[in-house]
């Protein structure tokens, strides 16, 4: 039988798109190879526009609603268990390891889904100031976050690289290299999970080609680097970031409350008490 082979595309602003450049790069897996988009500078700029809108729409959902959307993503994922298993096996994992990884991914997703409506109770508080004032510190999502994901062939790692920022209400541009097939497959489940378009964008490419464009973009508020990169690359990123005081996080934690802390800003509001 002549099989129909899927073309994987970037997922930006809730739509599947090719690179405007028309360029692709090849990912060879054990049994198959794919041509995936080689994201261009213009694609990044378009993604930021989409992510800005996505941030607006995602952030304004109630925390309860965010929890349900993330939970729905786990429902979608579970339904495609075998497809993920196949991709992971094709990427070199044993069947057992692949299955274990997907179970872990589902557990991570459940953990973060339940966190979306709780983290603020752990990060915010009243401050016992001297004097008759009501004084409260609470947290808000930073904005558009670019994540450079780990190259590891792991659905769990992939999710753990995007969920911390997403759970706080940030929109995410999730950038992938060697694990692009897995990531672009995940985009299909994201599309079915009721996340507002642009809240979570999945792209494939070579980061080294875009390092300046991403780190110079003033509307990307923060970058989280989950992949091992060289000192030279870190230096370039942080030098560019300094022009607009972009927040740069290299290997931030991926579990616990600590994982969310990089992606929030504290807002403190004072009001006098009186009659």
């Amino acid at each position: 039988m002549n099989e129909i082979k899927k073309t994987y595309k970037n997922y930006v602003g809730g739509k599947y798109v090719r690179s405007e450049s028309g360029k692709t790069f090849r990912i060879e897996l054990k049994n198959d190879f794919y041509e995936v988009p080689l994201t261009s500078r213009k694609d990044i700029r378009d993604a930021v526009v989409a992510a800005k809108k996505g941030f607006n729409d995602w952030q304004k959902l109630t925390p309860y609603n965010k929890t349900q959307v993330l939970y729905r993503l786990s429902e979608m994922l579970e339904g495609n268990f075998e497809t993920y298993q196949q991709i992971l096996q094709d990427a070199g994992l044993t069947k057992a390891k692949a299955s274990d990884d997907i179970h872990k991914a589902l557990d991570s997703l459940i953990w973060y889904a339940g966190m979306a409506d709780k983290w603020e109770q752990m990060t915010g508080n009243l401050n016992p100031v001297s004097g008759d004032f009501f004084n409260i510190s609470h947290q808000e999502a930073l904005g558009v976050v670019f994540t450079l994901n780990s190259n590891e062939q792991s659905l769990n790692k992939l999710l753990l690289n995007m969920l911390p920022a997403l759970t706080t209400g940030c929109s995410v541009i999730s950038f992938n290299e060697d694990n692009s097939i897995l990531a672009l497959k995940l985009a299909e489940d994201i599309n079915n999970s009721d996340l507002p378009g642009g809240a979570l964008n999945i792209m494939s490419g070579k980061f080294e080609l875009l390092i300046d464009d991403v780190s110079n973009h003033v509307e990307i508020t923060a970058m989280a680097i989950y992949k091992e990169i060289t000192i030279k690359e870190k230096t370039i990123i942080r030098q560019n970031a300094s022009k607009s005081l972009k927040r740069i996080f290299v290997n931030p934690p991926t579990s616990g409350l600590e994982a969310l802390l990089p992606f929030i800003d504290t807002k403190t509001v004072w009001h006098p008490k009186g009659r």
Binding site: V129, Q239, V250, E258, T266, K267, T268, V269, H271
Partner: protein, 478 residues
């Protein structure tokens, strides 16, 4: 007819003792620096020479780092409770010598004694008390054992609240188990030097607190030293960007408290007289040398005329003059450089088309002074409406709808603070949710407390100082 003129009431300076020359504080004692370069520190209210302080160089920073390494060895062995005891003792000593510090601060920096005595010093002591108590509760603070001190922390502080900024930096750093190398501002080093004496007095182990005075070159040497694992800086956005760029090669912690151009929004349903008072306090407190100063008055159009007339009347009652006079509201501008900068921006405001109002008052013959100034008829594009002036200059912009007020207020690269004046509770919360600022004062302004986190959004920097959140600036997640 009654004579309502104030009688002068000048605080005595006999309580302070200023040395002719100061060395640097390393290994728990004052030493002669490697650098033979000195800068003169003058009183901005009289231009009188106060003292000469060392301009620390690279070798001095190297020495400070070696001292800090030894200090860290000892400090790390102490339990949290032991660290707390030192900080509590420092807090007590500051309270005991509070008047001396206040007078010195006003002489060296030009701020009114009523502010250094009633605001700066009480806050300084409170900061040490507050963070002392955290030293043995760090695991409880964020419910995790995964937080560890950075080690050697470099701290660079500004001239607007010299000792208060020292306390904001030093207290949490020491409480969390770090050791400190502090570089005070070049125009206001004297209270930091006096603080070093207190560290000796409480027997703080040598090397835990190190002080290297100097200018920008000293700060740069501190920032560039490879063994510093955390930099905490308060100052201009331009220098903040320089620091992020300069440290790009290193995986270090950064806290940057930078500039601001805060909107103080007054709605037509505000308690007008209270709002006038708050707006005046928001911009003229400490001569407007405040990063979170409410320097943009964002006024609802239909109350513009009434509000401005009340504001001008209130401004006229501000007393400008000798910082050591207890009646003084507006002291001296901190330095000649700063005065020139303010004058330049104000002249540009006039050229661009703003209407200027300045209070009628006599400026002292010597020293650096600037009259309280209000601009009306300004456009959001004017430099006086966009750039941080860091002086007693308020620029008025008007709006019609709450949405427009938000847009004007957020239309800046800064995001440090903001003010909201309305009697309607739901409007306060609606506006507060939409303002991009780290600190929001509703129906009040310029309130500070050690337990209340302070710090900005956007290009006003990152990290928080104060409160439980301030601990995270000195603890890295493992």
């Amino acid at each position: 007819m009654n004579n309502w003129e104030y009688a002068e009431s000048v605080e005595s300076t006999s309580i302070v003792n200023i040395e002719k020359k100061y060395g640097i504080f390393i290994d728990g004692k004052f030493q002669t620096a490697n650098s033979k370069k000195f800068i003169k520190t003058v009183s901005p209210s009289t231009e009188e020479l106060l003292s000469s302080v060392t301009v620390g160089n690279k070798n001095d920073i190297n020495d400070a780092v070696e001292s800090a390494k030894e200090g860290l060895k000892i400090w790390t062995k102490f339990s949290g409770t032991e660290r707390a005891k030192y900080l509590f003792k420092l807090a007590r000593l500051i309270q005991e010598r509070s008047r001396e510090f206040a007078v010195l601060e006003s002489i060296d920096g030009g701020k009114p004694i009523k502010e250094s005595r009633d605001f700066d010093l009480p806050q300084v002591a409170a900061n040490f008390f507050y963070f002392a108590g955290w030293a043995d509760k760090l695991e409880l603070s964020w419910n995790t054992k995964g937080l560890k001190p950075y080690g050697i922390v470099g701290q660079i502080i500004p001239w607007n609240f010299p000792l208060l900024m020292l306390s904001w930096k030093v207290a949490p750093a020491l409480a969390t188990g770090n050791v400190v190398i502090l570089k005070p501002a070049e125009s206001t080093p004297l209270t930091a030097l006096l603080f070093a004496e207190l560290c000796q007095e409480v027997g703080l182990p040598p090397g835990v607190f190190n002080l290297v005075t100097g200018d920008g070159t000293t700060g740069a040497a501190l920032v560039q030293h490879p063994d510093i694992s955390k930099i905490a800086f308060t100052g201009s956005t331009a220098v903040g960007k320089y620091i992020q760029n300069e440290t790009a090669e290193r995986d270090i912690g950064l806290t940057l408290e930078l500039g601001g151009k805060a909107a103080n929004i007054v709605f037509n349903d505000a308690a007008i007289d209270q709002a006038v008072e708050g707006v005046v306090n928001g911009i003229f407190f400490n001569q407007g040398h405040v990063c979170c100063a409410g320097s943009r008055l964002v006024l609802q159009e239909d109350i513009h005329d009434e509000f401005v007339s009340k504001l001008e009347k209130r401004m006229q009652s501000l007393r400008l003059g000798n910082p050591l006079d207890k009646n003084t509201d507006i002291g001296a501008i901190n330095s000649k450089d700063q005065l020139d900068k303010i004058s330049k921006l104000v002249n540009e405001g006039i050229e661009e088309g703003g209407s200027i109002f300045q209070t009628e008052c006599e400026l002292p013959q010597n020293g650096f002074w600037f009259k309280p100034t209000l601009f009306t008829n300004a456009q959001p594009s004017y430099r006086i409406a966009r750039e941080e002036i860091f002086g007693p200059v308020l620029t008025t912009l008007t709006f019609r709808t709450p949405e427009e007020a938000i847009e004007i207020s957020n239309n800046t690269e800064y995001g440090l603070s903001a003010g909201i004046w309305t009697e309607k509770g739901s409007k306060i919360l609606w506006v507060a949710d939409r303002l991009q600022a780290g600190v929001i004062w509703a129906n009040t302004f310029n309130k500070f407390d050690p337990s209340s986190p302070f710090g900005g959004y956007k290009e006003s920097g990152f990290g928080r100082e104060g409160g439980r959140h301030g601990l995270l600036s000195y603890l890295k997640v493992q």
